[in-house]
Symmetry: C2
Amino acid sequence: VGTLRADARRNRDQLVDAAGALFAERGPDVPMEEIARRAGVGVGTLYRRFPDRDALVRAVAFESFHRVVANARAAAGEPDGWSGLTRFVRQSTADMRLATWLSLWFARTLAEMRLEHEHEELRDELLGLLDRLVVRAQREGVMRPEVGVGDLAVLLALVLRPLPGPLAAVTERTVERHVTVVLDGLRARPGDPLPGRPLTREDLGRPGGDA
Amino acid sequence: VGTLRADARRNRDQLVDAAGALFAERGPDVPMEEIARRAGVGVGTLYRRFPDRDALVRAVAFESFHRVVANARAAAGEPDGWSGLTRFVRQSTADMRLATWLSLWFARTLAEMRLEHEHEELRDELLGLLDRLVVRAQREGVMRPEVGVGDLAVLLALVLRPLPGPLAAVTERTVERHVTVVLDGLRARPGDPLPGRPLTREDLGRPGGDA
């Protein structure tokens, strides 16, 4: 995209923003015409930038993923690990959820075999940043010691994915409550440890390897 | 089924058990021939009892649902509410998960418009039993006060639903860890209350009403 003229680049950004907003509101099946209309461009322009829906969905997911990684970088700079981690989760809920809506987060984007190289690097960076935040929060004594970054990633993927059917609207309204319940469940406290062993980055599978 | 001869009834039970086990192992697309083989009956017998896959899936989900409700009835008799609730959740994980695998739990079985009357009664009974356990556990001071039975139901539905793709195997292995994290997140503790308001039975929608 480096050679796009300025207005083509602006059209592209407007299309990705409009598609992201409409996907978040109504899922990834929104008519392409509506996306073009919301972006203020013609359908011809849309298809010149994104030859099919898949290309547009990938672009939206990619932008979301970039914002998530940017949030994790900022969180890594916080003086305490638990605050950094919880701030990251709260800031990233909408973007992680958007990617989830698109069925790309984890199921395809993070675990699919044929990832773009850049995407693979972002995934590694994200899991590395979160891993260090988890370790720091555990050293501070605030986070329960028997979880790994894989547990965090899987729990977020589970709780952020909307329920199907008519309950999708309910999960839309309650996602922040339920993310908070999960974060509270990850706090250190006296009591029985979790069954099983901590889930690591490796347990999530490598892109191109077995998951 | 009251008029089935004893061996026909036995065949039916064997088919439902075999289908439940195979659905749990491999999802609802297992070939019908394998289900018949595991049940020790011929394919002809299978199709005589269950004209299509849908009928079999419904029967399996229905049996699971019956076991879940039976667990809730037993939990209601426990002397303390929180123990009853956590025991119910642990006992019912496999059955609720099975129904989830079948995409029936919540998405169709609990929220679909055209529920059988008996199913609707079971759903009402289950939510009523859980509601009373939640209220008791809150009075005991063990469960956080600002959640409703709807929060419990939605959180369980979220955390019990396997992730799609290659991560399905991961969630299969970690479901008990992650259910425990959610239960711990529902315990009372000093700190900020959850954002939003408690989710009630009514928020889950009525079968036949708007969800």
